[in-house]
C-alpha cells in the first residue's frame, strides 16, 4: 500500500513545515475548516477509525460523546506517552512528521470546538521537545494555530506538557491527573473524560497515531479510507517490530495484515536464519503467541480469536535462543515498577508475581509455583482499578498457557536451556 502516515519521513528536514507542505501537508486542514464540526465527526465515525494507542475505541464515537456534552470549554489532548514496551511508532511521527500530528489536532479541535490542545509528551522523549516546539511555532507563523485560523474565526492553541517517567500516565485518566499537576493515579470511570476530563471539562484524549489518521480521512474521505485494511478495522496501522528480526523498525501496513507476513516478508525473517520461538503481537501487555499462531490477521477483532490482543501493535519477536521465563519475569518486573500503588490487587499482585517468577528464574522455584502464579493472576484479572493489573495478569497467563514446559523445567530441573 502507498504509505500515508510514514510518507516522506526519509526526506531531510521532514519535520519542517516546508517539507511537509511539499508532500501535500495541510491540504486537509483547508478542507476541514470549510466543513462544519458535526460533518467532520460524522466523517470520522463513518471511516471506522479505532484508537491506535492500544484500546481500539471507535474514535468517531468518542468525539460524538464529547461533542454532545453541553459544557464548554472542551479540551483536546494528544496522548504521546508512548510507554508500552515494544512500541516506538509514535516516536517516529513525533520525530519525523510532527506537522502531521499538529494538522490532525487542529482538525480535531475544530470538530470538537475545543480551543486548547495539549500534547502530553512522555519525559523519555524530551529529546524531541525542541523539534515539536519548532513545528508548533512554524504552524503559528503560518496562521494554522492561534486566533482566526485561516481567516475562519477559529481559535486553537497548542502546548506541550512534558511527562516525567510514569507508564501509568498513558492511561487516560492518570494522564489527566498528571496534566493537572498531580501524581498520575487513574480516576474512577464513569464519569468518562468525554464528559468530565481535564479541569473537569469534556475532554478528548487520542493517541498520536490516531490523530495522525485524521488528515488522511479528510483527504480521501471516509468511504475510501474504510476500504483500506480489514472490514471490521479499517485504515493503515503502524507496526513497531523489534527483537530477533533482520530488519526491526516501524512499518505502515493495512490493518489485518498477517503476522507471518510482517515477520518474514517485511522484516526479513528471523536474524541469522534461526527459528522463531515466540511473538508478542501488540506490546508487552498482550498475551504471547507460539509459532503455530502467526497466521493471525493483525487487527483488533481477529486477533482475539487467537487469545491475544492487538494493543499498540508492538511486535516483539523471540528466536530459539530466548529464555521465555526470563522474558516473562522482566515483563512482570516492569509492571511491578510501574504500578501506581492505588489498588491492592495490582500493587500486591505485581509484587508477588515478580517475587515468585524471580525465584523460578534463579533456579529456586518450588512445586506448586505455577498454580500459585495463576492463582495470583486470577485475583488480579478484572479486579484492578485500571488495565495495568490486567496486563500483568494476562502476560503470566499467556506465557504459562503456551510455554508451561519451560517453566516446569526451570522449577523441577532447576535449569535453563536458553539465554
Amino acid at each position: 500500500m502507498e504509505p500515508f502516515l510514514l510518507k516522506g519521513i526519509d526526506n531531510p528536514g521532514s519535520a519542517t513545515i516546508e517539507t511537509y507542505k511539499g508532500i501535500g501537508g495541510y491540504g486537509s486542514l483547508h478542507k476541514a475548516l470549510s466543513m462544519q464540526p458535526q460533518e467532520i465527526i460524522d466523517e470520522v465515525r463513518r471511516s471506522g477509525l479505532r484508537g491506535r494507542g492500544g484500546a481500539g475505541f471507535p474514535t468517531g464515537m468518542k468525539w460524538a460523546f464529547a461533542s454532545a456534552d453541553p459544557k464548554f470549554p472542551k479540551y483536546l489532548i494528544c496522548n504521546a506517552d508512548e510507554g508500552e514496551p515494544g512500541t516506538f511508532k509514535d516516536r517516529v511521527i513525533l520525530e519525523k512528521k510532527p506537522h502531521l500530528l499538529i494538522e490532525g489536532m487542529i482538525i480535531a479541535g475544530h470538530a470538537l470546538r475545543a480551543e486548547k490542545g495539549y500534547i502530553y509528551l512522555r519525559g523519555e522523549y524530551a529529546f524531541l521537545k525542541d523539534t515539536i516546539e519548532r513545528a508548533i511555532k512554524e504552524a503559528y507563523e503560518e496562521g494554522y494555530l492561534g486566533e482566526n485560523i485561516l481567516g475562519k474565526g477559529i481559535i486553537f492553541d497548542l502546548y506541550i506538557h512534558l511527562g516525567a517517567g510514569a507508564y501509568i500516565c498513558g492511561e487516560e485518566t492518570a494522564l489527566i491527573e498528571s496534566l493537572e499537576g498531580k501524581r498520575g493515579q487513574p480516576r474512577i470511570k464513569p464519569p468518562f473524560p468525554v464528559n468530565v476530563g481535564a479541569f473537569s471539562m469534556p475532554t478528548i484524549i487520542n493517541n498520536v497515531e490516531t490523530l495522525s489518521n485524521i488528515p488522511y480521512i479528510i483527504s480521501i474521505g471516509a468511504e475510501e479510507y474504510s476500504r483500506i485494511g480489514s472490514k471490521e478495522c479499517p485504515g493503515p496501522k503502524l507496526f513497531s517490530v523489534s527483537g530477533h528480526v533482520e530488519r526491526p523498525g516501524v512499518y505502515e501496513l493495512p490493518m489485518g495484515t498477517i503476522l507471518k507476513e510482517i515477520i518474514y516478508n517485511h522484516c526479513g525473517g528471523i536474524r541469522g536464519g534461526k527459528n522463531l520461538k515466540a511473538v508478542i503481537p501488540g506490546g508487552i501487555s498482550t498475551p504471547v503467541l507460539p509459532p503455530d499462531m502467526i497466521d493471525v490477521p493483525m487487527d483488533f477483532v481477529n486477533i482475539c480469536r487467537y487469545g491475544s490482543m492487538l494493543g499498540s501493535g508492538g511486535v516483539m519477536v523471540f528466536d530459539e535462543t530466548t529464555c521465555l521465563v526470563r522474558v516473562c519475569y522482566r515483563a512482570i518486573k516492569f509492571f511491578e515498577h510501574e504500578s501506581c500503588g492505588k489498588c491492592t490487587p495490582c500493587r500486591e499482585g505485581t509484587g508477588w508475581l515478580s517475587s515468585i517468577l524471580g525465584r523460578i528464574e534463579k533456579g529456586m522455584g518450588r512445586e506448586g509455583d505455577i498454580d500459585l502464579l495463576l492463582d495470583v493472576a486470577g485475583n488480579m484479572s478484572g479486579k484492578t482499578f485500571c488495565p495495568l493489573g490486567d496486563g500483568a495478569a494476562m502476560v503470566v497467563q499467556g506465557f504459562i498457557r503456551h510455554f508451561r514446559a519451560e517453566f516446569e523445567e526451570h522449577i523441577i530441573d532447576k535449569r535453563c536451556r536458553f539465554g
Partner: protein, 153 residues
C-alpha cells in the same frame, strides 16, 4: 527563585486554566536551577504555585525522572526492558559497574555520572539503547558505549 525563573513559570502557568497544572514543568525548572529537588527546591515550587510542600513533594517522588537526590553531572539512563534485555542491556549495566564502579541509583566518585535503570524508552528498533541526559543512543555494545560516554565531561 530569581525573577527570570518566576517569569518562566508565570508564562507556563498561563497555558492552563488552573495554575496548579504547572507543577510538572515547575519541578523540571527547579531541578535545572537547584541541580536536584532538594527541600529548598520543593519549597520554591510550592510557594510560587501556592500549594502545600507535602503535596509538591508527593508529585516529585511519584515520577521516575525527577531527581529526588543529588546526582552526577550526567545522567545515564539505560533501558533493560525486554527488547533491550535480549540484546544485552543488562550486560551494559554490569559493564558500567566494572568500569566506573557505577550502580543503579548511584553516582561515580568524581560526580561525573549517575545511573538509573529505565523501562522501555521507545528505541526498540535500535536496542540496546540508553539516554544520556536528553540524548538518545542506540545500537550499543561493549565498545561504543564507552566511546559515547567519553563525550560527556
Amino acid at each position: 527563585m530569581t525573577p527570570l525563573i518566576e517569569e518562566r513559570l508565570r508564562q507556563i502557568a498561563e497555558r492552563y486554566p488552573d495554575k496548579g497544572a504547572a507543577v510538572l514543568p515547575a519541578l523540571y525548572i527547579a531541578q535545572e536551577v537547584y541541580g536536584w529537588l532538594s527541600l529548598e527546591a520543593i519549597k520554591k515550587v510550592s510557594e510560587t504555585l501556592n500549594l502545600p510542600d507535602a503535596f509538591v513533594r508527593g508529585v516529585a517522588t511519584f515520577y521516575h525522572m525527577y531527581r529526588n537526590k543529588p546526582l552526577g553531572r550526567h545522567l545515564i539512563q539505560i533501558c533493560t526492558n525486554v527488547s533491550c534485555m535480549i540484546f544485552g542491556g543488562e550486560r551494559l549495566v554490569d559493564l558500567l559497574r566494572e568500569r566506573y564502579g557505577l550502580t543503579p541509583g548511584g553516582t561515580t566518585e568524581d560526580g561525573r555520572f549517575s545511573l538509573i535503570i529505565m523501562e522501555c524508552i521507545g528505541a526498540c528498533d535500535m536496542s540496546p539503547a540508553m539516554l544520556v541526559d536528553r540524548d538518545l543512543h542506540g545500537r550499543l555494545n561493549e565498545d561504543n558505549i564507552f566511546e559515547i560516554l567519553k563525550r560527556y565531561e
